[in-house]
């Protein structure tokens, strides 16, 4: 059976891998962006607010979305863990939080 310590370390590693890969993607995108635009003046920074597609900034956005998705993944892992050890109170709690997270991702005001 899964122990709580084992689970903590599994979620810890999943979080670490997710966060690092998001950071790498963002760093690559940011690096390309700086290489292309680094010497321009700062006042131009607001122009790229997401309306026009830009490869480097698209990469950054992808990394950011991955970072947000990792938050749902960790709650999903907790749901799986509590269901596996038959702690239904806590699997219900994590299911509720996961539902709110997913709902809010697709919810548009």
């Amino acid at each position: 059976m899964l122990s709580a310590e084992k689970m903590q370390s599994i979620i810890g590693w999943v979080l670490m891998i997710g966060t690092l890969s998001s950071a790498v993607i963002v760093a690559i995108g940011g690096g390309i962006y700086l290489y292309e635009n680094g010497s321009k003046e700062m006042s131009e920074i607001v122009i790229d607010s997401g309306t026009s597609f830009h490869f480097a900034l698209g990469l950054v956005k992808l990394g950011l979305l991955l970072l947000v998705a990792v938050q749902s993944i960790r709650v999903a892992l907790l749901f799986w863990f509590y269901t596996a050890i038959k702690d239904y109170k806590f699997s219900l709690i994590s299911a509720f939080i996961l539902a709110v997270l997913i709902y809010s991702t697709f919810w548009r005001s």
Partner: protein, 319 residues
């Protein structure tokens, strides 16, 4: 002998950190004066590098206090670089998620985080945030901001006042027993068990934290740490690390809205993310070696700073 050597080493490390802080402060003042008086514009490269440096501090502070990186990121972007408050809030949201992700894995593997408490209190935070978002049209933001800033000052006082080493509890709250919230953590003297008190009180505080963060967009981290420190009577490091675990999830709830409103600007956010992550990794490494009273002091100064920032917003109308 070895102990005193370790202490001198820790002291010199602290000195290094303090001088880094001073250096950053000087750069900040310098940039501010450049921006205001000489009108020399920064290049994107310089701007990004400066932002990485400031975000490093944000991540470090966020990792140690459980507050997330927003308390540094927002004022730096708005006051120093004159970025629109909405874009600054978007960057701050990402910095909170980054701090939480950067620290949570380390804190969980080291056994600080109490996942059950985090999850249980997260229900109240999430429901509160939804209520807050609904109430936003009916509440006076001015009054709330003023009230909340005074709550923060009072909390700083409460945080400094608590002497957890002298507290002893025979048993835990019945809810804590039913939900098995008690746990243990790696204290400096070895693995230590703790008993959880006043669960309903913490749950309501967490709901209020959620409502406030839904209404004002800030401050949920401060009340999370407080609810766990003052109501649940958790060891301080457990409170801050569990708050660190939770704030990423709470912030991710609002991320969808921020993305669709266009508040998250990639070119502004990437230096923040990288700096904050490096800072929070560093903070997570340092935490186990830090004394609780020092952490309490840092936290209190930080929330007083947030309180002052909010009061300044009310007085000067920065919102």
């Amino acid at each position: 002998m070895r102990k005193s050597r370790a202490r001198t080493r820790a002291r010199s490390r602290l000195r290094e950190k303090l001088s880094a802080f001073a250096l950053l402060a000087i750069t900040a003042i310098h940039c501010y004066s450049i921006q205001n008086y000489r009108k020399i514009t920064l290049t994107i490269l310089t701007f990004s590098l400066l932002l990485v440096a400031f975000s490093f501090v944000a991540g470090l502070l966020g990792a140690l206090t459980g507050l997330g990186g927003g308390i540094v990121v927002i004022p730096v972007l708005v006051l120093l670089f004159h970025v629109n408050i909405h874009y600054a809030m978007g960057a701050s949201l990402i910095s909170v998620i980054a701090t939480s992700s950067g620290t949570a894995s380390a804190y969980m593997r080291e056994g600080y985080t109490n996942l059950r408490i985090g999850l249980f209190l997260e229900i109240a935070a999430v429901i509160g945030a939804l209520i807050g978002a609904l109430l936003v049209a009916y509440m006076s933001k001015l009054f709330l901001t003023t009230l909340f800033s005074f709550i923060l000052f009072f909390s700083a006082y409460l945080t400094l006042k608590r002497r957890e080493a002298e507290e002893k509890y025979e048993s835990s709250h019945p809810w804590a027993k039913a939900l098995q919230l008690d746990g243990s953590y790696p204290a400096q003297s070895g693995k230590t068990n703790y008993q959880v008190q006043n669960v309903p009180w913490a749950f309501s505080l967490m709901g209020i934290a959620g409502i406030l963060s839904g209404l004002l967009g800030i401050g949920s981290g401060a009340l999370k740490v407080l609810a766990m420190d003052q109501a649940l009577r958790l060891p301080y490091k457990v409170a801050t690390t569990t708050s660190n675990f939770m704030i990423g999830i709470t912030a991710a709830v609002s991320a969808g809205v921020y993305f669709s409103n266009g508040y998250i600007i990639p070119s502004l956010v990437f230096p923040v993310l990288i700096g904050v992550l490096m800072g929070s990794f560093t903070g997570a490494k340092v935490l186990s070696r830090m004394n609780t009273p020092v952490l309490r002091l840092i936290f209190s100064i930080a929330i007083c700073f947030v309180g002052l920032q909010m009061l300044a917003n009310v007085i000067f109308g920065a919102n």
